[in-house]
């Protein structure tokens, strides 16, 4: 299965609160494995959220973002109840993942 | 784990003489169902060998709360304390106090003796796990008493120095069921490490006494 992603988007008073949890190792590139070899950096670099193909929020991560990243952001005007919010990320190896949710 | 972890100790029987002079034998053993469960449920892994489940005299006593609270149990505790105290060796070079800075490193480290460690792992004293030791380190446990100002409060008379030495070497010499590990008895810390921890507690320059 694709690595799981959980998105929650809830509207209240015109503001859509978006919470995203993603499964990713977020390796810093600074750690060594038990046999002393460096573990290469592997982390999500860019995440964007879209509504009807229009980017409504972008986050860029460095390797200092924690494993299994959590992101919370808010939209006012660019999303409303019933919209489909699409969240995609790409990591430094070029792997991508996309998931979507309806704004509740 | 030395001799005291021999298999036969598992079912050791402790005989005690009653105060009245009548020979009364209190049998204290590890319950057979416990022994059986331990035997079937644990496996050796790395340096953590299976014989570690086999309790020695002190562990048998302290695992049995009901017996421990009985007069016979209290008596047994005093007996085992005396044995523990008698086995403590003074420092081989006569020096009780080493380097407090090295001692603080020993106190900070919780490493060693688990199945993830090996023979080369330098064991720590895990002191901060249970004790407040210095003001600077706020991440400390509360299982043991705070040691802040330890030397400042007591001074460093030979009595205090010897007591502290003994307490670190084998805490059970004063309290058979103390939660504190027997650091010298099981070779958890080297003599030098103990000297350094001594300095951490008693050296007037140590942050413990500032």
């Amino acid at each position: 299965m694709a690595s799981p992603m959980r998105i929650r988007a809830t509207e209240s008073g015109g503001v859509v609160d978006v919470k995203v949890l993603m499964r990713h190792l977020m390796e810093t590139g600074q750690r060594k494995s038990s046999d002393g070899k460096p573990i290469p950096a592997w982390f999500i670099t860019v995440l964007d959220a879209k509504v009807q193909d229009k980017v409504v929020f972008t986050a860029e991560f460095g390797p200092a973002v924690s494993k299994d990243p959590f992101l919370n952001f808010k939209l006012k005007g660019s999303a409303k109840k019933g919209d489909t919010l699409v969240v995609s990320w790409v990591d430094n190896k070029g792997e991508t993942n996309t998931s979507s949710v309806e704004v509740k | 784990m030395k001799k005291n972890f021999k298999l036969m100790n598992r079912l050791i029987t402790i005989g005690l003489i009653s105060v009245a002079g009548m020979a009364t034998v209190y049998a204290q053993t590890t319950p057979p169902e416990v022994t059986e469960a331990l035997n079937s449920s644990f496996a050796s892994k790395g340096i953590a060998k299976k014989d570690r489940v086999i309790p020695d005299d002190i562990q048998i006593l302290c695992s049995d709360k009901v017996f421990l609270e009985s007069p016979a149990g209290q008596k047994r505790a005093i007996e085992l304390q005396a044995i523990a105290l008698a086995a403590i060796k003074p420092p081989s070079d006569g020096k009780y106090l080493g380097d407090w800075k090295a001692g603080d490193k020993v106190a900070q480290s919780g490493k060693g003796a688990t199945w993830k460690d090996n023979e080369k792992t330098v064991n720590g004293g895990s002191c901060y796990n249970c004790h407040q030791v210095t003001k600077a380190e706020m991440s400390h446990g509360t299982i043991g008493p705070s040691l802040l100002g330890y030397g400042k409060m007591r001074g460093n008379s030979q009595e205090i120095v010897t007591y502290t030495w003994n307490r670190i070497n084998n805490s059970k010499a004063y309290n058979a069921c103390s939660n504190m590990p027997r650091f010298a008895h099981f070779n958890l810390l080297t003599e030098k490490q103990i000297q350094d921890v001594m300095a951490l507690l008693l050296d007037p320059q140590s942050p413990v006494n500032q």
Binding site: R23 | F42, A43, A48, Q59, A77, M138, I143, R182
Partner: protein, 269 residues
């Protein structure tokens, strides 16, 4: 544990240093509370739960069958509320089983996956990885319910009694037992609060919040994993996955926690 038979002239001197600056602990404790609350929103255990939900219905093993007919005690395929009543006695295996040992039985009987595949796998790898995800899914289906482990059956009573003895059983080069850290109220190791498992409140806090996601290593830990690492820190040998000791301790804790709220999967340091 009471301190028995402290002898010599040092009793007074020793008790003199027991007074720790309470204010320092309180404020550090409150600051930590703020940290934990900030983390509570968005528990990555949810990602494991999602994975487990898919794995529950996915045909796997030599028999290419899914676990969705597994009987966790409430009937074939019933997941809702099942883990709240575990560990319990199962007639078909004639054993008291916790969630993980019961799932191993289902994996064997339904999917044809030998128990050894789970037992021998390293944490987070192979069949243990599958197990962790399924556990995350199953325990989430009891979230908000009450622990319901009255241990009325004689087989269950026997295991609770064994678990209690094992809880106090010392061993290893540091003389530790579970009770060394978990039998007194309001104690900490470093900054971590240690629940007093000998009382209902502490048992509920402990049993009720594991399995959990551990932020420190970014892993989801099942109860078997939690107990395993407690024994590692006790410097004991390796407790075999699903062995009698782990089941006895589990039902002892669950029975003590009976009636407490289940907040699993938790979020831990």
């Amino acid at each position: 544990m009471k301190r028995y038979a402290i002898i010599g002239t040092f009793v007074v001197a020793l008790s003199g240093v027991m007074v720790a600056p309470a204010w320092a602990q309180t404020s550090a404790g409150e600051q930590l509370k703020a940290y934990r609350e900030a983390l509570a929103d968005g528990n990555p255990a949810e990602l494991y739960e999602m994975e487990g939900e898919e794995l529950w219905v996915k045909p796997m093993g030599p028999k290419k069958a899914s676990l969705d007919t597994c009987n966790l005690g409430l009937g074939p395929g019933v997941v809702k509320g099942a883990s709240a009543q575990l560990p319990r006695y199962f007639k078909d295996t004639n054993k008291v089983q916790d969630l993980e040992s019961r799932l191993m039985t289902c994996m064997l009987n339904i999917q044809g996956i030998p128990e050894s595949e789970t037992i021998d796998a390293p944490w987070g790898k192979g069949q243990k990885k599958v197990m962790a995800a399924i556990v995350a899914y199953v325990v989430t289906q009891s979230k908000g319910m009450k622990v319901d482990v009255p241990a009325n059956l004689p087989q269950e009573k026997k295991m609770v009694a064994l678990g209690e003895k094992l809880f106090y059983q010392q061993g290893g080069p540091m003389d530790f037992s579970c009770a060394s850290c978990h039998s007194v109220d309001n104690q900490r190791i470093r900054m971590q609060d240690l629940p007093n498992i000998t009382k209902a409140k502490g048992a509920q806090a402990g049993w009720g919040s594991w399995p959990a996601y551990r932020v420190g290593n970014g892993q989801f830990w099942t109860m078997q994993h939690r107990i395993n690492d407690c024994y590692r820190q006790q410097r004991m040998p390796f407790p075999i996955y699903g062995s009698d000791v782990t089941i006895a301790l589990s039902i002892y804790m669950a029975n003590k926690a009976n009636g407490g709220e289940i907040i699993t999967p938790g979020l831990k340091r």
